[in-house]
Amino acid sequence: MLSRSPFLYFLTLLLFKQKSKHLGIMSISVVMIALVSAVLFISSSLQKTLQDTLDEQADFTVTRIEAGRPVSTPLAWVDKIIEIEGVSEVAPRIHGRYFYAPGEESFLVVGIDFFDEQGSKALQSLLKGIDLKQFFAEESMIVGEGVKDFLQKHYYKDTFSFKTPRGEFKKVKIDEVLPGSLNLLANDMIIMPIGLAREIFGLKEDEVTDITFNVPNDAEWDNVIGKLHLVDYEIRVVEKREVEKAYENLYNYKGGIFLILYIIALLTLMLILYQRYAMVYSHERKEIGILRAVGWSIRDILKLKFYETLILVISSFVIGTVAAYGYVFVLGAPVLIEIFLGGANLENQVQLIPEVSFGTLGSLFLLYAVPFFAAVLIPSWRVAVIPPKEAMR
């Protein structure tokens, strides 16, 4: 029976008798692993979520550039774009940030066409209880949870007054609040009819923020870009594949910084461990000498050190990753999420979708375990091969 093995009894007894010795190294390891795993969990969850939602995004977004700056896009471009062969689902958009000066915060205002069949269907499936008749009875908007909390703090319980560029106030009713589970995308979002958004941003009837469209055949993308540049000289085209690449690079970069910091911290820890065993007057050195003196072979000593390290490595890795999992996917990664989403505007309490990259986690384990074993086993072997008398001195 495994549980009655004298070796295992001695090993576990040793671990608990010398727990103060192991607790220090274990707690440093747990903190390091928890931190780097949390960053990797956030990064992989965000990447996966965005990758999935990116499928819904239009293939191209077109804006007008004037003197190198994006300005309002003429609505007439819609007709010109429709004429290009291979293009489908051309849609003008109105969106932008509305700055609320007293609170120094801003909201993302998105104007949508409620008479567009697809858009209104999607909205009705998103907000099951929405009554569009009541919504259109007066000027209304749908707000994200972050916006709702912010407005309530500033005593805007049911309505909010937007100030238009003409200096007029536009009172808009808060009709619905988007569910908190959508905070990752819609925390600072205000959805309203396109005409109302146009009024708030001071856009003319024939102006929009940008135009989106799809080109179902990928092989035609470059050809379509060429034709778009013939529509107008002041055109700027943003492709979906550019956005995809930007998302990927950004989160890899942020995760990468933490990985570099982790490697530096890990190297320092390994150096401390190595020193602990290699030092001439260390307790470990004496312990190995005693075991050798009572008849343990080099193989037995290495076996003891191997299993001792294995237990420490596995338990600290498991505690670290489970703690990181709970912190990210149960608590919503408070503080750390701000590295990815920022914390300068509205407070955002997101609910991340559990997404674990087991490959990355495996690499992290190897990156942690291999140097840990090396830092313990190499000096232990070096002490074990010298005569016990000399080791105990």
Binding site: L2, S5, Y9, T12, L15, F16, T49, T53, D55, E56, Q57, G68, R69, P70, S72, G96, R97, Y98, F99, A101, S106, L108, I112, Q118, G119, A122, L126, K163, P179, S181, L182, L185, A186, N187, D188, M189, I191, F201, G202, T209, T212, E242, A246, L250, V318, I319, Y325, F329, V330, E338, L341, G343, A344, N345, E347, N348, Q351, I353, P354, V356
Partner: protein, 83 residues
């Protein structure tokens, strides 16, 4: 093996089991569908970045002041009203 070790190992396994259970039982599909619904309505895929007004609001948006990225970029079609 001593009792304390068995107790600690059991506790560790229980906590790991709870995390695995949470991971497997998470309703990822309905979450993704809801996110896709927001994108279908608004056409905006960027996460809700909590950035200052002068910083890029959409993920992947290019900063137009490469020398001083903290400065308010000029290429914004957004509305600020004076206090």
């Amino acid at each position: 093996m001593i009792k304390q070790f068995i107790g600690s190992a059991a506790l560790l396994m229980l906590v790991t089991g709870m995390a695995v259970g949470h991971y497997l039982s998470a309703d990822k599909r309905s979450h993704r569908e809801a996110f896709s619904g927001v994108v279908a309505v608004t056409g905006i895929v960027s996460p809700s970045l909590s950035t200052a007004f002068y910083e890029p609001a959409f993920l992947g948006e290019k900063v137009e002041h490469p020398a001083s990225p903290q400065m308010q970029s000029l290429n914004r079609m957004e509305f600020v009203y004076a206090e």
